[in-house]
C-alpha cells in the first residue's frame, strides 16, 4: 500500500527502518520485523547504509513484502548510474513494492570500501525527476516504456536540525518542485529546532515524518554529535543518559527521551519515522509511551 494514501486520509503515519545484514541469512531480520514492526504502516529498508556493503535493499524489500509487511525501498545514487537506478525501480514495481525513498547517499570514503568509485550520476533531486518520468511512461533517455508505467509513493529526506538549515530548505523546495510526495527527516533531538523548521517547511504542503533515533547511551549520543551531520543531542539529554548507565543500557532512558521528542513535535508533523538501529524490540514501548 502507498503510504501517501494514509497521509491523504489525515492519518499519523508511523514507519521504522531495518538494515539488511552483511550476508545472505535474513530470517532473523524478517522475524524481528514481524514481531516488533507489524503494527506500523511501513518499514524502510536501507541501501548499503553508511556506504557499508550489505545485502541489497531491493531483495530485502521483497522478502518483507512476502512476509506481509509494507516495505519502503530506499535508493541512493552512490552505487548505481541512471541505467541501473531505473532498472531497479522497474524491478521494484514488478515485485509490487509501492513506496520508495530517494537519497543522494553517503560518500564511498565513509564506508568499508573507501577505494570504491563514487557514482553520483544522478542525485536525490534528479532521481525524483527520473521517477516522475518513468511514471509518465518515459525513461530518462526519452524512450517509451512498454506496458503499464510504475507508480510509487515517492519520498525524500531533509535535515531540520542542520547547521545550514536555509540551504536544506532550498534543497527541500527543489525536491518538491521535482515531484516528491512526502519527507522523512534526519533524527531530531531538539523539538524547538524542528518546530521552527516546520514553520518554514509547511509552505511546501508535503507531509513530513519526524525522524527519531532511540539513543542507546551517552557514548553513542556523543559519537553522533561529533560525527553525524544534522544530529545534535543536547547536554541535558546527554546528562540524562549518563546518569544511570544500566537504565540507559536497558533502553529505558532512550525510549523516554524519544517519546518526549515525539510528543513535543507531533502537532507539527504528519508522522514519525523510527531509525531503531538494531533496537527494533523497543519500538512498541516507544510508540506506547508516545501515545501513538
Amino acid at each position: 500500500m502507498k503510504i501517501t494514501e494514509l497521509f491523504d486520509r489525515g492519518e499519523f503515519v508511523v514507519s521504522a527502518e531495518v538494515g539488511p545484514p552483511k550476508g545472505i541469512n535474513i530470517d532473523h531480520v524478517i522475524e524481528e520485523a514481524k514481531t516488533y514492526l507489524s503494527g506500523i504502516t511501513a518499514v524502510n529498508v536501507t541501501d548499503n547504509q553508511s556506504s557499508v556493503m550489505r545485502l541489497g535493499s531491493l531483495a530485502t524489500c521483497k522478502a518483507l513484502l512476502d512476509a506481509g509487511l509494507n516495505p519502503i525501498f530506499q535508493l541512493t545514487c552512490r552505487d548505481r548510474n541512471r541505467i541501473a537506478l531505473q532498472s531497479d525501480l522497474l524491478s521494484a514495481a514488478m515485485f509490487g513494492i509501492e513506496n520508495i525513498l530517494c537519497l543522494t547517499g553517503d560518500h564511498t570514503k565513509l564506508g568499508d570500501h573507501p577505494g570504491a568509485k563514487p557514482v553520483f550520476d544522478l542525485d536525490s533531486v534528479s532521481l525524483i525527476h527520473t521517477v516522475k518520468l518513468l511514471e509518465s511512461g518515459v525513461d530518462l533517455g526519452g524512450n517509451a516504456l512498454v506496458g503499464d508505467p510504475p507508480k510509487f509513493a515517492k519520498g525524500a529526506v531533509v535535515s531540520p536540525c542542520s547547521d545550514s538549515v536555509d540551504a536544506q530548505l532550498a534543497k527541500m523546495e527543489r525536491k518538491v518542485l521535482a515531484g516528491v510526495d512526502y519527507f522523512q527527516t534526519q533524527a531530531v533531538f531538539e523539538p524547538e529546532k524542528f518546530i521552527a523548521f516546520m514553520e518554514k517547511a509547511k509552505q511546501f504542503g508535503k507531509p513530513v515524518q519526524l525522524g527519531i533515533i532511540i539513543p542507546k547511551g551517552a557514548a553513542m549520543a556523543r559519537y553522533m554529535n561529533n560525527n553525524v551531520a544534522g544530529v545534535h543531542v543536547p547536554d541535558d539529554m546527554l546528562a540524562e543518559l549518563a546518569a544511570d548507565k544500566e537504565r540507559a543500557k536497558a533502553g529505558i532512558t532512550g525510549v523516554e527521551i524519544a517519546a518526549r521528542v515525539i510528543k513535543a513535535c507531533r502537532p507539527y508533523c504528519q508522522g514519525v519515522h523510527i531509525m531503531a538501529l538494531g533496537w527494533e524490540k523497543h519500538v512498541p514501548a516507544l510508540l506506547e509511551q508516545a501515545g501513538i
Binding site: 541512471r82 543522494t104 553517503d106 560518500h107 570514503k109 565513509l110 563514487p118 553520483f120 550520476d121 544522478l122 542525485d123 536525490s124 533531486v125 534528479s126 525524483i128 525527476h129 527520473t130 530518462l140 529526506v157 531533509v158 535535515s159 542542520s162 547547521d163 545550514s164 536555509d166 540551504a167 536544506q168 532550498a170 534543497k171 523546495e173 527543489r174 518542485l177 521535482a178 534526519q186 560525527n227 553525524v228 551531520a229 544534522g230
Partner: protein, 206 residues
Amino acid sequence: MLITELKSKEVLESLLTGKVFIINCHGCKEVSFPEKEAEEFEKELLAAGKVTGILTTDYICNPENLQVRLERRRAMIDEADAVLVLSCGVGVQTVAEYLTPKPVFAGCDTVRLPGFQGVTPQEFDCGQCGECYLNYTGGICPITACSKSLVNGQCGGSKNGKCEVDPNMECGWERIYRRLEATGRLDMLKCPTQVRNFATDAEVTK
C-alpha cells in the same frame, strides 16, 4: 588543453537583462578561445547600447593581475548590472569571487582536449565538463567544489559547514548558497532539475 565554446545566443540573452561589462580572456597557451563568435556577439550588444565596457586580456585566473586590471575599470563595472566572462571555468570563478556581490555570468562552456594542462590557481578548479554550471551557482563550480559533484543542491552530509569527506574542506553548496545570497540571486536555487550530460564530460570523452 581545453576549448572554450560560446554558449547559445538564447542562453546568453536570457542572462543579460540589463547593462553588462564584458571580459574576454584569450587565455593561456592551453586555451582555444572563440574569438570570431565572441566579437560578433559583442558587436550586437554594443549596437543595442547594453555594454558599459569590454576588457580583452589574458590570464584572468591570476588574481593579483586581474585585480589591477578590474580596478582600472571600476566605474564601468559599477555601472553594469552584471559582468559576463568569456573564459574557461577557472577564469569565471576568479572574477566571481573578486567582484561579489556583483552578479558574474559564464558566457562559455569549457571542453577538454587531450594534451598538456595549463597552469591554474589552486583555489579554483574547472572540471571541463562541457556544460558550465557557474551561472546557476553564483560563479562557484559545483563539479569541483562539491565532493559528490552535485548539481541540484546540498546533500545532508555537511557538519559545521565542512564536507563529510574531508573536515578541512568547506561544503561547496554552503559556499554557493552564501554567494547567491550575497548577490541577491537565491531564486537560482529554484532552477529546473539539472541532469548531467556525461557525454560531454572529460572523464568519459578522453
